[in-house]
Symmetry: C2
Subunit: 337 residues, 2 copies
């Protein structure tokens, strides 16, 4: 049993800001990155919480992040905005581009934002949740490092390529999903390796392209997409629209750029926002109520909505803080020495 | 062994036009619907070829199609166009809206088209392929009839909800995929029932929500999505963005509207188009070449691209025509009596 320590969300923020500052991130980046780390802990997404501070520290030490990059927002077409993150973390670039994206979506009905040349380690759900919280329908896509083989192939070419979606709802919580198009997260396979456990068939293949239940073989071979050829097609789409379409790297190019440093992926992200009010005009409320009937038709039969667990955690941690493994906390505090 | 007859694509067109005219479709609809039926046979997608004439005839006899609907194209926002199909087949509405969508995508960078109140029986790939052939990146989504249960649920609420994607490539053939978010097509389960064969686990559940290998039980219970909770999330997204977002029906509402007629689904479709030239400017050629490197990285390891089989069939049938089951041809010719 892992020994855990209870800390408040304020303490999470203080710790995150201290570690990020100590590693040389400029003030605006410290704030933006700490926000997503607090959000990860708050929603009990441990893999996107304070654990990521170790990943940040490693990526910074490897010289793979511009610590004080000042993102540049470019209005390139009536419904397109580009944010050049200039080699910094994506969060600040998103924050700076978001109001422009939202305004363009309201003006044009639909709009897209490319974030270019950013270091990506956060989940996509904070971004689509924020847009949906502003009444917009949002989609987000990003490649990562080439770890995943296409269906029918045996060599890694795709990243874990997540897709995220947000839909505005009455009340505090939009409908949000965010999932990797790989069968599982890479960290999940690494966890199995560390614990000496075998992995289920379908997660990965060995270097010869044969199905394997050996975590080490899968990590040295290739991961697989979820859903066979359909997941593989989606992953291809994400490579294309969040890579070459926006003038940014594919997962293979990101991994080549990494050159063995094992730093976070470097490249672009595509975010699409749609304003329901522009489609529906005065009937928006009526039609969004029909969407509620659909979502209730899911929950009323005992199925869960993708974001439900996170929102429940959020209510819990707002009152009681979070429990984190003591050794993890010690490892992170050691980063302050 | 099914006895087959070889007919030319010209004969397919003549037959399709004759059957559709005979059933009262107006001339512009005859032409538009026949185009997709010819495209289905040409690409050896038998389920979307002349077989669909039987479905058309049934849907028309059930009184579920407006035979001479004249779609109305409405420019509702700088990057949004709506086409009210007025209860007719979707194809003519798509053809009329497409130039407006393409123009808006070139003007704004990204644009979306809603087709409303249409009868849908065609695949989505002809539409995204056409847009990609014009140099645009395209996405298309549509609900259908509520046959599919959400992950963790047991009652059908989603349609087979396809998603299609097109990406422009040099040469005659864009990158295109088009797949249902259900584990398989409904027709596939019906085929198993007709042949008295069991279905694999994962295709459907019985009326009590238990996994079943019995095709009849699955058809009376619910189909499942592909890829578990991820496919279920995608299917939810498609319900929302091609239903309430555009002021049109969910799959449950379409099935209720059908009221046991077993006609084709009625509702909307959402199509998004993006102009790479607006994102990339003068660097478009260079970045689209990097996309080619990605696609070659898939095919060079022996994996297939989703549209490859169709394009190979297209080359074959252009020369030799198509083989269709004799009994199917007889059934269709009987519609002319």
């Amino acid at each position: 049993m892992t020994e855990t320590v209870r800390i408040s969300l304020d303490e999470v923020r203080t710790l995150a800001e201290a570690v990020l500052s100590r590693h040389g991130l400029s003030e605006p980046h410290v704030k933006a990155v700490a926000d997503t780390i607090v959000a990860g802990e708050r929603d009990e997404c441990a893999s996107h919480g304070i654990y990521r501070l170790l990943v940040c520290a490693h990526t910074i030490k490897a010289g793979k992040v511009s610590l004080d990059a000042e993102p540049v927002v470019q209005d390139i077409a009536p419904a397109l905005v580009k944010v050049d993150a200039k080699g910094g973390y994506a969060q600040l670039a998103f924050n700076m581009g978001k109001p422009v994206l939202a305004e363009k979506a309201r003006q044009c009905g639909i709009a897209a934002m490319a974030i270019n040349r950013c270091i990506h380690f956060s989940a996509l759900w904070p971004e689509v949740e924020e847009l949906a919280g502003n009444g917009l329908v949002a989609l987000a896509f990003t490649p990562s490092h080439a770890w995943v083989a296409p269906a029918g192939g045996k060599k890694p070419i795709f990243g874990t390529n997540p897709i995220a979606f947000g839909w505005p709802r009455p009340g505090p919580h939009p409908y949000v999903f965010d999932f990797a198009t790989s069968a599982v997260a890479r960290g999940e396979i690494e966890l199995h390796r560390r614990e000496g456990k075998s992995i289920p068939l379908g997660w990965g293949i060995d270097a010869n392209g044969n199905p394997t239940t050996d975590a080490t073989e899968a990590l040295e071979g290739a991961m697989l997409t979820f859903g066979g050829h359909k997941g593989s097609a989606l992953s291809t789409m994400i490579e294309l629209i969040a890579g070459p379409l926006i003038g940014d790297m594919t997962s293979a190019e990101s991994l080549a750029h990494d050159d063995g440093a094992k730093a976070s992926p470097y490249g672009g992200e595509l975010i699409i926002a749609i304003d329901p009010a522009r489609f529906l005009g005065s009937l928006a409320a009526e039609h969004l109520a029909r969407a509620e009937a659909l979502l209730e038709g899911i929950t009323s039969q005992g199925a869960r909505l993708p974001s439900q667990r996170r929102y429940e955690a959020r209510a819990r941690t707002a009152l009681g803080g979070v429990r984190v493994p003591r050794t993890l906390l010690e490892d992170i505090r050691a980063l302050l020495d």
